[in-house]
């Protein structure tokens, strides 16, 4: 690696060094308490998948270039030069970490491995070594924000075709619109994913609850966050923020997508609107009596997988359980404490990388499959697109013979007047 490239990469490293990051990089005592925290280590048993080891890959560079020790006594902390080899190690660490932050629950200091991995991901972008497909997807999202008019017509056509299916789930009065788009003064802006499954059930439930809602032009998913590019993350986020401000909505409701929800909730800053997950909204409708569900429609025991970015990392834990009380009499917890729930193994962009990561995703999530099987449930509910895909893959791979369902679809299917 030439000096210029290295300097550029170190500038990127420097840009990530805020107070919290310094805490995390300075403090680890390598006590090993996090050993059992990572699902990848628990499933595959290789030391390089222990949270502290992953973090040390980044920390060694920190010790080399950002601590005086790196010059005078590098060997004391095994400080390491930034070389091509180091970049390979960074990739291995960053793209085998799903950013679930389960290790943060174990660490006596609360070191955030996901945040340390964000340095690795940014360096990979700088070295042109990141998974290209994620960058391309992020660029497409950014582009869509810039030239909405080009996409508008096609989008509206697509939505029109979905309306019939929405009405099939929930009959509307004459003159009511099944899906409204671009409606100024709506109370709630719903940000879905590209895909009918993310729009139809949600729309039916909004209509059933009599919500004054409108659908966003943009998809919720933030590929910028997956690939760890702060500026693209912000651009992708801003599209939705701007739309929400333009339409003067009171609330932005994020569909079942963990990353989208956490990014939107925690990175938008102070805004005239609030941010809620669709799970929270459904729980609210039930609490307020705005929708009713028929508990007899669902047959079989149900268990719920807490998406890491929605539960452990954003606090939505009670709401899905409250909803499930209205859907079934046979709900089975996977773990006594949701914050200890195993990651499905699909986060951090791994599911978005598709077939490329499938083998690793299956091997690294054996522990998750075991946890699900132990519940004895036949229906596996979750509230995150990536989790749903990954759990469906696990279901096939480990022959779990379960039905993997979105919580929102289950609610839509059980709606009664």
């Amino acid at each position: 690696m030439d000096q210029k490239t290295r300097d550029d990469l170190l500038d990127l490293f420097q840009s990530k060094l805020n107070e919290a990051m310094r805490f995390y990089l300075e403090t680890c005592t390598r006590c090993g308490v996090c050993t059992e925290a990572c699902h990848v280590y628990a499933s595959m048993g290789q030391v390089r998948y222990i949270a502290a080891y992953r973090a040390e890959i980044v920390r060694r560079l920190y010790k080399k270039y950002f601590k005086g020790r790196g010059k005078f006594w590098p060997s004391v902390g095994e400080a390491k030069e930034l070389t091509e080899m180091a970049v390979v190690e960074l990739f291995d660490a960053a793209y085998s970490c799903t950013g679930c932050r389960r290790c943060m629950v174990y660490c006596p200091f609360g070191i955030d491995t996901q945040m340390i991995m964000s340095i690795a991901k940014l360096l990979l972008i700088g070295a042109n070594a990141e998974p290209e497909i994620l960058s391309m997807l992020a660029d497409t999202s950014v582009e869509k924000g810039k030239s909405l008019d080009l996409f508008k017509e096609g989008f509206l056509d697509g939505i029109k075709r979905l309306e019939e299916e929405v009405v099939a789930k929930w009959q509307l009065e004459a003159g009511e619109q099944a899906i409204s788009v671009d409606k100024e003064g709506a109370d709630l802006l719903y940000v879905a994913l590209a895909g009918a499954h993310s729009i139809i059930p949600a729309a039916a439930i909004f209509n059933a609850a009599g919500e004054n809602w409108t659908l966003s032009f943009f998809e919720a998913v933030n590929f910028g966050a997956f690939v760890g590019d702060p500026s693209k993350t912000k651009l992708i986020l801003d599209r939705i923020v701007n739309e929400a401000r333009r339409l003067k909505v009171k609330e932005v409701c994020i569909c079942e997508c963990g990353t989208a929800f956490r990014v939107m909730k925690q990175l938008t800053g102070k805004q005239p609107f609030g941010v809620v997950s669709i799970t929270e909204v459904h729980a609210r409708y039930l609490r307020e009596g705005r929708i009713k569900l028929d508990r007899s429609k669902l047959k079989g025991a149900v268990t719920y997988h807490d998406p890491c970015q929605i539960a452990r990392n954003a606090g939505v834990m009670d709401e899905p359980r409250f909803i499930l009380q209205h859907l079934t009499d046979d709900f089975r917890e996977m773990t006594p404490e949701p914050k200890y729930n195993w990651c499905c193994g699909g986060g951090g962009g791994l599911v978005a990388l598709g077939e490329e990561t499938l083998d690793f995703r299956m091997k690294s999530s054996r522990i998750k499959a075991d946890q699900v099987k132990e519940t004895g449930a036949t229906i596996l509910a979750t509230a995150c697109e990536n989790c749903h895909t990954q759990l469906s893959n696990l279901n096939d791979h480990y022959k779990m013979e379960m039905r993997v369902e979105f919580l929102s679809s289950m609610v839509a299917d059980a709606l009664v007047r």
Binding site: E19, R22, E26, T27, R30, C107, R312
Partner: protein
């Protein structure tokens, strides 16, 4: 030889304390002046009051207790022991009424504290010899533990000699004379400190302690100051 002893017991102590205090302060100021992270770094569910739970997490190591109970026992022993020994050293300067709430001879613990600490340090060290902690450890981790063990063992030997075997050539008053001299910038080495049979223990104890203090601000030992703000981030 006298020069070496003098160097270790006087100038090196000043250098070590200067590096420790200034180094730690400068590094902490540098870290705390960095911009704050723009998003919350909390782990849920939330529990109130957050500051109380932060103190709980910082000082009682609940996650270690849950996942590595044996390590937790030794960690608690070590950290409580360390605190009591720091009190013991303060008492070598002068009498503090507040510490005599529980009446005791200097040091607290009748010599057993040092023994417990030494055992805890050996446990920390030996657990690093076994995988997977072995694979995570870097030289710094071993150096610090070995250094602490040497400090504790030579310090304790002096205590044990006095307390358990009635060794009277180096008395508490001799240490006080030496330490107060250092404190008032008027260093004085009593004969008992430099010329008695156990002087070498004191010299080695102080030497290794100096090394530890010199390394402290640049090592993972900084967790003693950073653990609290980090745990606060996790609690929100």
């Amino acid at each position: 030889m006298d020069t070496v002893i003098y160097f270790v017991l006087v100038p090196m102590v000043y250098i070590a304390f200067a590096v420790f205090f200034i180094g730690t302060a400068v590094r902490l100021i540098k870290i705390f002046r960095e911009p704050k992270h723009p998003a919350p770094l909390q782990v849920y569910p939330e529990k109130s009051p957050k500051w109380l739970w932060t103190l709980h997490d910082t000082f009682l190591f609940p996650t270690v207790r849950r996942h590595k109970p044996m390590l937790w026992v030794f960690l608690m022993l070590f950290h409580i022991g360390l605190l009591l020994l720091i009190i013991g050293h303060l008492e070598l300067f002068a009498e503090f009424k507040i510490f005599q709430i529980i009446p005791h001879e200097i040091f607290l613990g009748q010599g057993y504290l040092g023994l417990l600490l030494a055992i805890a340090l050996l446990y920390f060290l030996f657990r690093r010899f076994a995988s997977p902690v072995r694979d995570l450890s870097v030289p710094e981790d071993y150096y610090l533990l070995i250094l602490l063990f040497l400090i504790v063992i030579f310090g304790s030997e002096m205590d044990w000699a006095r307390r358990w075997y009635g060794y009277e050539e180096m008395a508490v008053s001799d240490y006080q004379e030496y330490l107060l001299g250092l404190l008032y910038l008027d260093p004085y080495l009593p004969d008992a400190v430099t010329d008695s049979g156990h002087s070498f223990m004191l010299v080695l104890h102080v030497f290794f302690a100096n090394l530890f203090l010199l390394f402290f601000p640049f090592s993972q030992s900084m967790h003693s100051f950073l653990s609290l703000p980090m745990n606060k981030l996790r609690r929100g």
